[in-house]
Symmetry: C2
Subunit: 224 residues, 2 copies
């Protein structure tokens, strides 16, 4: 069960909340559980069923796909207030692919359990509508990621990543290993290390153990 | 205006038809136009607006993205009875990317004009629902294509394409240039030519001008 503050967050972040009947609101609240995930942990369901719909309360989740050989491609990330229904794909018949999800920061996630979510979708067309609309938004995120990976030159992609992340961190420093960066930009660690060293030689960044500091945003932007 | 046979096709292929009121059915029928496209032609709207929702009556459409340098990635193909709402992305707020569409065979396409489609989506939640559901189905197609391109070894991808297409053609012969094949499998013509020649040397296929004939399905399958 969620506490009152958590419930308020749930109510304000679900666009279909106002379309629910009182019993539906009660069912949804009862079926939602808050779970904490440590940074780096992957979110899996206990059984063979899927996780259910997720709403990030605090922290950040990463949604990705993985090849048999372990290579990963990050599709998008979810921050506080953002919802993910791809983790409820077992009840969305139009979704025939699976994604993996892990926590990129210590996170608290509200999970609408799959049975209740499925039931609500069947009872209320607005819930189904919101679920599909959410999936389509993610589709747009994925297309953006894919176009970057397929079409954008690698130095450009890495520059975009460094500029975005250094802005987010505020300090200009990105705390991530080359391996982690490779996963975010859909490349191999060796390729990332080589390009970062070339950026360092050009005075664009400074490298240290587990961190990259952006030194010259303006020149990095010129790569875009 | 569609003729009676065309209207019957429209009625049976739109899953939301039965959810429309009589005036909505009339509006939809009036706003739908049938257009023929020659093989190879690209579908573009006359003005800056988007095309509208498409329903393939005859033939085949290909939906793809294109890099600045001209490289293309085929996302999926649509046959008779299949619908595409990505071409109506200007009224689907959750879709923030654009796709290109061309006819891969001589085709007849029913186009629900964008103003009427947008209007119907606002008036009837079932139309909106069907549109998003359709987009999510395409999302699944795209993920399949992307996973192939990013993760699957190229010889495997080409083998999958040859097996699929030779089954479709019935004769075991695929009428396509290396350039066309490259576009379907998301690669470059040179790479396709090289791999086809290697397949030919192994006795898997026979090459002739503008065509590939599959000689040994069983051994081609072993590549998968």
């Amino acid at each position: 069960m969620l506490n009152e503050i958590q419930l308020e967050f749930l109510r304000t972040r679900l666009d279909f909340w106002d379309r629910l009947s009182e019993p539906e609101k009660a069912d949804l609240s009862r079926a939602t559980v808050a779970t904490r995930f440590k940074k780096g942990v992957s979110l899996r369901s206990d059984d063979s069923e899927c996780l259910g719909a997720l709403l990030v309360h605090e922290g950040e989740l990463r949604v990705f796909i993985q090849a048999d050989d372990g290579r990963e491609v990050t599709l998008y990330r979810l921050g506080p207030g953002e919802m993910c229904v791809l983790s409820a794909s077992c009840v969305l018949n139009s979704i025939t692919f699976d994604v993996l999800i892990d926590a990129t920061r210590d996170s608290e996630v509200f999970r609408i359990q799959i049975a209740a979510f499925s039931d609500l979708m069947k009872r209320n067309v607005w819930v189904e509508n919101a679920a599909y609309k959410n999936a389509v938004e993610r589709f747009s995120d994925v297309m953006w990621a894919i176009e970057q990976i397929l079409f954008m030159r690698f130095d450009k992609r890495l520059a975009v990543f460094l500029l975005d992340e250094s802005l987010k961190s505020g300090s200009g420093e990105i705390r991530a290993t080359h391996d982690e960066i490779a996963r975010y930009v859909g490349s191999a660690r060796e390729v990332v290390s080589r390009m970062l060293k070339s950026f360092e030689a050009d005075g664009l960044v400074a490298l240290s153990r587990g961190a990259v500091r952006v030194l010259d945003r303006e020149r990095l932007k010129k790569l875009l």
